[in-house]
Symmetry: C2
Subunit: 463 residues, 2 copies
C-alpha cells in the first residue's frame, strides 16, 4: 500500500454517505478496545440495541429499517462464551469505482479531480476473528477500500473488450493486442488480480495498524463482489460461499485449513527448517508418536506425498507435528485452525520464538460465476457463512432449507433476512440445561455464526 | 535409495527371465554411448532390425512374436531429425511383488529367503528424453525396480483391509486402528505413496549414474500400474494418459510445463532470489519487455496471482523471464519445455551458472481408477502417449479414432497394436517434399511419438 493512500485512509477518506448500504467510510483505524459485542454497522440502530445478548444468544438480523443492496438478508449470533468477544464481523456495501485521470495517479487530489462514478460494484464480506476481534474489525472496515483502490488502478482496462498491454492504452509494440490475446487475458482476470492484490494490501494495513496500537490477532476473510454481470468470491480461511440454484449447488469457495494446505506448509518447513526452531517435526503421522514407537516403521507423509508410506521412527519424530489433528481439531503449529487469513503478524507459538505468520497466506482463491451463462431463477441465492454454520450443516442441508423456505414464503418482503435467521437458529440450536443442542440431539454450534443470503434474480435493479 | 539396494541393482539384480514381457532385469546402469536409434527391449527381434529408419520415419510396433501383457499394443516413430537420437523410451512388464520377512528388511539375502510371489502388478511406462537419451534409457531400465522395491516395503499393508499404523502389525496404542481410520488412510494411498517415493528414488539413481558416467540430460516419465483391481497413473512431464471408455473419456494425467506450474516456479524464485543470479526476472509479462516499456504500467503476474495486474516497469523487468513463451514455446529459464521429470541434475542455463534442477520436480501426480466402480466394455482402452501425439491430436480425436478403429476390427488379434500404429501414423503425417504434413495441410509432428494402447476388458486373464 502506498503511504499516500494509507495516510488518506487514516484521515478518514471521503467520509460516510447517507444510507447504511452505501460504501461506509473507514472508521478510526485503531478500533477502541472492543466491547464484548460489536455489531456490523448496517445492524446498528435496529431492534436490540448494543447490549450483549450473551447468555441467551439471541439471533440478530437485518430489518426493514436499513435495507441492504438487492434486499440481501443477514443474521448472526454470538458464540456461547467460547471467547470474550464476538469474533465474526460483516460488511455489505456498494463500491463506486472512479476512473483515474492518466498521469494523476500519484496525486493526492485525484479524488476531487475525477469524481465521476465509473462503475458500481456490490460487496458482501464476512470475517471470522481469532485471538481477539481487532483484525476482523479492521478488515471489515478496510478490505472494501483496498478492493476499490485496486479496481480503480485497472479501471481503464476493465471496460475494454480485452485489457490493453499498457494501462495507458499506448501501443509500444504493434502486436501487443495479439500477445494479450494469446495469453487469453480477459477483463475478469484483471478483477481477480485486483482482489488478490487487495487482500495482500489489507493484510499489510492490518499489520501496520496492529503494531501501531499494540493489538494482536487475525481473521479469515470471505468477500463476494458483483461487477459487470459477474460474481467474484475471494476466500482466505474457512468460511464458505455457495450458490443455491434451482437444480444445482455451485460451491464458490474452498476452505484453507492446516489439513487442506498440509503440503504447502510442510514444503515451506522443508525449504526453511529453521522456521520450526527444532521444536516441531514437519512429518505427518496418524497420531502423536511416543517413545514406544521409536525404532518401528509407522505411517507418515512428507510434503511431496499425497499418498502414505512407512517411516522408521527416530527420536526427532516424537516432536509435535507442524500439522496435527483431524477435522475441526487440526492445528498449524499447535496454534491456528486456519492456514490463510489476514493479520497474526505478531503471533508466536506459546512459550517459543516460533512465528506462525510465515506459514500463513493472505492470498485468496477467487472463483468467478458469469451470470450471462446461467438462467437465474426467482429463488436462486448466494449463501455466505462463517464456519459456525458449516460445522453443523452441509451444503445439501443448507440448499434444502433455502429452497423450501423460499418456496413457502414467496411474498414476504423480508424473506431473505428471515432465511438467514432461520439458518443461524438451526445451527445454534436450543439451550437445554447448560448445553446448546440440535433437534436430533447432536451438539449445536458454540461458535459465532454469521450468514448472508443474497438474492440473485433482481440483481441489476439496484444498479 | 539405500546403498545396499543400489549395489544390488548394479550387480544385475535377479537376472532377466525368459519372456520379453516379464519384468526385465536391469541392464548395465551406464548405457553404452547410445546408437542413434535405441528401441525398447520388447520390440527387439521383431521385424525391422536395429538400423536407423531416420529418413523415412517408419512406424515400428509390437508384433505377434513377443506379445505384451493383456495383448497391449505399442507403436513408435523417431523424430524428423529434431535431435541426434530418438529420445522416447518405453517399458512394459509384469512386476512381481514379494513379501519381505519381518526383521530381514536390511538383509542382503532376503530375496532368496522369501522368494514366494505375493502380488502381481502390470506396468507400462513412457519416457521422453531431452539433452540426449541417457536419462530416458536409465529410467526405462530402473523405474519399475524402484516401484517394485517401494511396493515390497509396504507389502504387509497392501493386502489388509486398512493399512496398520505399524508396518509390523504390532499395536503400540490400542486406538491405532481408529487413528488410521479417522485419517481415511486406504490401501490405495500406500500404492500412491510408493509411486511417489519410487519416482524420487529413480531420480536419485539417475543423478548418481549420470554423474558417474559423465552423461547429461533428463526425461519425462509417465507410468501406469495395475494392481489389485485398480489402475494407477503417475505422471511427471508432458506425456498424457487417457481412458477411452464406451461413453466417456477419463483423463488420467495432467501436463507439468512451465506454464501449468508457473506459480510454483515463481514462488521458489521469490523465496530464493539467488537461484536467478540476477539474470532473470520472476515476473510474467505477455511478451518480453523492451526499453520503451520502462516507466509504463504493463500487464504482469507474480507468484501469488491467478489473475493479472499492471506493474510499473523498471529496468530489472527487462531481464529474461523465469517462465516465458506460450504453449509449446513456453520455457523454464529459457531452457526446458517441462517443469517435472527425472534427471537434469547437471543442467545449467547456457553461458551462466544458473542451475535448472532446483526448479524441476521429480514428484509425479498419481491418478487412480477403480475398476470395481465401472462396467468395462470390450473396446475400452487406456491410451498413453508422449507429447508427439498430443501436439497433433486432442483427447476427442484420439478417442474417436480408437472407438471407430476397434469397432471395425473386432476380430483382428493384433488390433490394439494396429491402433497404436494408426495413431502414430496419423500424428506423423506424410512426407511431402521436405515437410511432414497432415491430411488437412497442417504441419505434422516432427517429434518422437510413442503410444501404448492397453485393452482393459480382459485384464485379469493374465493374472
Amino acid at each position: 500500500m502506498s503511504a499516500e493512500w494509507l495516510r488518506w485512509v487514516r484521515r478518514g477518506g471521503p467520509g460516510e454517505r447517507p444510507g447504511g448500504s452505501q460504501e461506509p467510510g473507514p472508521r478510526s483505524p485503531s478500533p477502541a478496545p472492543a466491547p464484548c459485542y460489536r455489531r456490523p454497522r448496517f445492524l446498528r440502530g435496529g431492534g436490540g440495541g448494543e447490549e450483549s445478548p450473551r447468555g441467551r444468544r439471541a439471533v440478530r438480523g437485518t430489518g426493514p429499517e436499513r435495507p441492504l443492496p438487492w434486499g440481501s438478508g443477514y443474521a448472526e449470533v454470538i458464540n456461547a462464551e467460547k471467547s470474550e468477544f464476538n469474533e465474526d464481523q460483516a460488511t455489505c456495501c456498494q463500491i463506486s469505482i472512479r476512473r483515474r485521470e492518466l498521469g494523476l495517479e500519484e496525486d493526492k487530489e485525484w479524488l476531487i479531480l475525477c469524481s465521476t462514478q465509473f462503475l458500481t460494484g456490490y460487496y458482501w464480506a464476512l470475517f471470522d476473528g481469532h485471538g481477539g476481534p481487532s483484525a476482523a474489525v479492521i478488515a471489515s472496515n478496510y478490505l472494501h477500500y483496498c478492493i476499490k483502490q485496486k479496481l480503480e488502478e485497472v479501471a481503464g482496462a476493465i471496460t475494454e473488450a480485452r485489457p490493453p498491454m499498457h494501462v495507458s492504452g499506448r501501443c509500444v509494440c504493434d502486436s501487443d493486442p495479439q500477445f494479450v490475446e494469446e495469453k487469453h487475458i480477459r477483463v475478469e482476470d484483471m478483477v481477480v488480480g485486483a482482489l488478490e492484490n487487495a487482500f495482500q494490501e489489507c493484510d499489510e494495513v492490518i499489520g501496520q495498524e496492529m503494531e501501531a496500537t499494540g493489538q494482536t490477532g487475525g481473521c479469515t476473510a470471505l468477500a463476494a463482489l458483483y461487477l459487470q454481470g459477474k460474481l467474484y468470491v475471494a476466500n482466505a480461511g474457512d468460511s464458505r460461499a455457495i450458490l443455491v440454484l434451482k437444480d444445482t449447488i455451485v460451491p464458490m469457495s474452498c476452505e484453507f485449513t492446516p489439513e487442506t494446505e498440509r503440503q504447502r506448509l510442510q514444503h515451506l518447513a522443508f525449504l526453511f527448517p529453521k522456521l520450526l526452531d527444532g521444536e516441531f517435526t514437519r512429518f505427518e503421522f496418524p497420531r502423536r508418536l511416543k517413545g514406544d514407537d521409536v525404532g518401528q516403521k509407522v505411517l507418515y507423509r512428507d510434503y511431496f506425498m499425497e499418498g502414505w508410506g512407512y517411516k522408521l521412527v527416530e527420536k526427532a519424530d516424537l516432536k509435535y507435528p507442524l500439522v496435527h489433528g483431524h477435522g475441526k481439531q487440526a492445528r498449524l503449529l499447535g496454534t491456528l485452525a486456519v492456514s490463510r487469513g489476514l493479520g497474526d503478524h505478531q503471533l508466536k507459538v506459546i512459550d517459543t520464538n516460533i512465528e506462525v505468520k510465515p506459514f500463513l497466506s493472505c492470498i485468496p482463491k477467487v472463483n468467478v460465476f458469469d451470470f450471462a451463462l446461467h438462467d437465474i431463477k426467482e429463488n436462486d441465492v448466494l449463501i455466505m457463512a462463517t464456519d459456525g454454520l458449516w460445522d453443523i450443516l452441509c451444503n445439501k442441508e443448507v440448499a434444502h432449507m433455502a429452497r423450501s423456505f423460499l418456496a413457502e414464503n414467496r411474498t414476504d418482503p423480508h424473506r431473505f433476512s428471515e432465511l438467514a435467521k432461520c439458518l443461524v437458529r438451526r445451527a445454534r440450536g436450543k439451550k437445554i440445561g447448560h448445553q446448546w443442542m440440535l433437534d436430533d440431539s447432536r451438539e449445536a454450534s458454540y461458535d459465532d455464526i454469521s450468514v448472508f443470503v443474497v438474492p440473485l434474480h433482481n440483481r441489476d435493479e439496484d444498479c
